[in-house]
């Protein structure tokens, strides 16, 4: 096509990646080691080492504390037990460790980012396009360079998961904060609140439903990355799915896939339960 002046960035990019690998690869591999030994492996060891009934008990207690409804807590616990019956307990624990770390990191980083975006128009103009890139640049495109830089395994998997899963939380925190009633904020201002008091005492509580929706999406996305993570060598349920697919054993894939879904539901219900404010926001009757 004559209309387009031909351009090609492939070679420069490849050379840049190569030289990055040669120059920083070793150091980043060491970093990988540190994160692994310091954070992920101990957690994983604890989860895999504990007797299953202890874990099941913890799940039941957490679910009950979070929701106060045994109609939620009981099925969740039974479902986890069933995963064990499918012979996937060990894989479940590995995936749990990975997803927990990734979700915690995503929330810890995403909430402040969302707050920053809501408070400064200029920063929002920077943050939102970066999120666009993070969410739509195909995971593989940065996963492969990540593998070259960090080595195979869990650490690049976690990084990729965080990059992908953080986006909805940032966006929904931003949205929620910007929808807080300005009259209420004005009243709080009139008492001389610091930014901090305003944020913690007024804005975050009122934006809470949106933020919780963001956390829900983050959990969902972190779990939807489990299979991708196992494509670069993270073990666990994702590997089972992959193996099932590679051999066209739909049953094996689906069984492991359902376990992932269950894990997602469990994490989601528990986080949402802890996040939810108990009081009904408004008397329902009025809305006849």
């Amino acid at each position: 096509m004559d209309f387009f002046v031909p351009l090609d960035l492939r070679e420069p990019i490849n050379q840049a990646v190569d030289s990055l690998v040669v120059r920083y690869g070793d150091r980043l591999h060491v970093l990988n080691d540190l994160i692994l030994q310091g954070l992920l492996l101990p957690l994983e060891r604890a989860l895999r080492g504990a007797p299953p009934w202890v874990i099941l008990l913890v799940v039941a207690l957490l679910a009950w504390r979070a929701t106060r409804r045994w109609q939620v807590a009981l099925p969740l616990t039974v479902a986890c037990y069933l995963i064990g019956c499918f012979g996937l307990w060990d894989a479940l624990m590995q995936t749990l460790a990975l997803v927990l770390v990734a979700t915690v990191l995503a929330v810890v980083a995403g909430l402040p980012l969302g707050i920053v975006a809501a408070h400064s128009r200029r920063l929002r103009a920077v943050v939102l396009p970066v999120l666009d890139v993070m969410q739509t640049l195909p995971t593989f495109v940065y996963l492969i360079p990540a593998v070259m830089l960090f080595g195979l395994g869990k650490v690049p998997a976690i990084l990729a998961t965080v990059v992908y899963a953080i986006c909805p939380l940032v966006r929904l925190t931003d949205l929620g904060l910007r929808q807080v009633d300005p009259d209420v904020q004005e009243a709080a201002h009139s008492f001389g609140t610091t930014r901090w008091q305003m944020l913690l005492g007024v804005q975050l509580p009122l934006a809470w439903p949106s933020i919780l929706a963001g956390v829900n999406q983050t959990v969902m996305m972190a779990l939807s990355m489990v299979v991708v993570a196992s494509m670069i060598g993270a073990r666990g349920l994702g590997e089972e799915v992959l193996a099932g697919i590679q051999t066209l054993d739909v049953g094996r894939g689906l069984q492991a896939g359902l376990a992932i879904v269950l894990l997602a539901v469990a994490i989601d219900r528990i986080t949402q339960g802890f996040g939810r404010v108990r009081r009904p926001i408004r008397d329902e009757e009025r809305r006849s």
């Binding site: 009633d181 009259d183 209420v184 004005e186 009243a187 709080a188 201002h189 009139s190 008492f191 001389g192 609140t193 610091t194 008091q197 005492g201 007024v202 509580p205 009122l206 404010v277 009081r279 926001i281 408004r282 008397d283």
Partner: protein
């Protein structure tokens, strides 16, 4: 008596291009013309007034004449488009964020026309809010709040949430919240408008006592002319964003500057307004 609060040539235009509106106004246009020409709302135009220390200063005027806009300038919830605002002789527009915060925490509190309650906090927490913000312990703040709730007749509703209250009850929560802050200056934007006459009588008396005992400076917006004459040691009348007349109630009644003011004050039946005069130390 020294001026506690002073507005100097304050104008406020809501809109994208205040300067164009101000130019039009300077050429004699009124707010309706400005709205039609530029789409901007004139809140205030060239208002200068000084509010003496210790005393109740009543502000009246037609709906939409700029009363709420005016009081918001005093604690700088609104920055003026032009002019200066002085509190205790200092220009609040020049305040740093920290000083402004201090002003709002310790020296000025406000009752909002639309209440501005925090929907996610109980009535008690709402009332304690001002004290909590300036760092008092929960215990102290809630004890003080409890006392004020009783004085506005809301004991027993401490643990309700605002959306379970009636309109008048919400207004009283906003009132108690401002009073509980215990600041020298009180800005009150139609604080009794949703209250029944018995309660209103009671609260008016309490306010007079409070002012007399503690020498607070109170800026009081009301539509009720009798209330203004009963409470106000001075009265200001606004119209379409401009200050029309200002002075002691007796003086305003005796010599209204125009027909508009005359029609306003005509509604007060001469003698039956009890007054507790005697201005407190400035």
């Amino acid at each position: 008596m020294s001026a506690r609060i002073e507005l100097r040539h304050v104008s406020k235009v809501y809109g994208d291009d205040p300067h164009r509106a101000l130019t039009l106004l300077a050429q004699g246009a009124d707010k309706h013309q400005v709205l039609a020409d530029t789409g901007s709302h004139v809140g205030l135009y060239d208002v200068s007034l000084s509010i003496p220390a210790g005393g109740i200063y009543a502000i009246m005027g037609l709906s939409g004449s700029g009363k709420s806009t005016l009081v918001r300038h005093i604690n700088r919830l609104i920055d003026p488009s032009a002019g200066q605002v002085l509190v205790d002789g200092e220009d609040v527009l020049g305040f740093s964020a920290a000083r402004l915060r201090d002003l709002r925490r310790r020296r000025i509190s406000m009752v909002f026309q639309h209440f501005g309650l925090l929907p996610h906090r109980t009535v008690l927490e709402n009332v304690a809010f001002g004290r909590r913000v300036r760092g008092e312990s929960r215990r102290n703040a809630q004890a003080a709040a409890q006392g004020w709730l009783a004085r506005v007749g809301l004991s027993g509703h401490e643990r309700d949430y605002p959306d379970h209250l009636s309109g008048g009850m919400r207004q009283r929560v906003g009132l108690a919240r401002a009073l509980a802050s215990d600041t020298d200056i009180l800005l009150m934007d139609e604080p009794f408008s949703a209250l029944d006459p018995l309660l209103r009588d009671d609260l008016q008396s309490q306010l007079l006592t409070l002012q007399a005992e503690l020498g607070k400076t109170i800026v009081f917006i009301t539509h009720d002319v009798e209330e203004a004459f009963r409470l106000g040691q001075r009265i200001a009348l606004l119209r379409d964003g401009r200050l029309v007349q200002e002075g002691e109630p007796a003086a305003v009644r005796a010599a209204p500057v125009d027909d508009y003011v005359a029609r306003f004050v005509a509604r007060v039946s001469g003698a039956d307004v009890p007054r507790s005069t005697g201005s407190a130390p400035g």
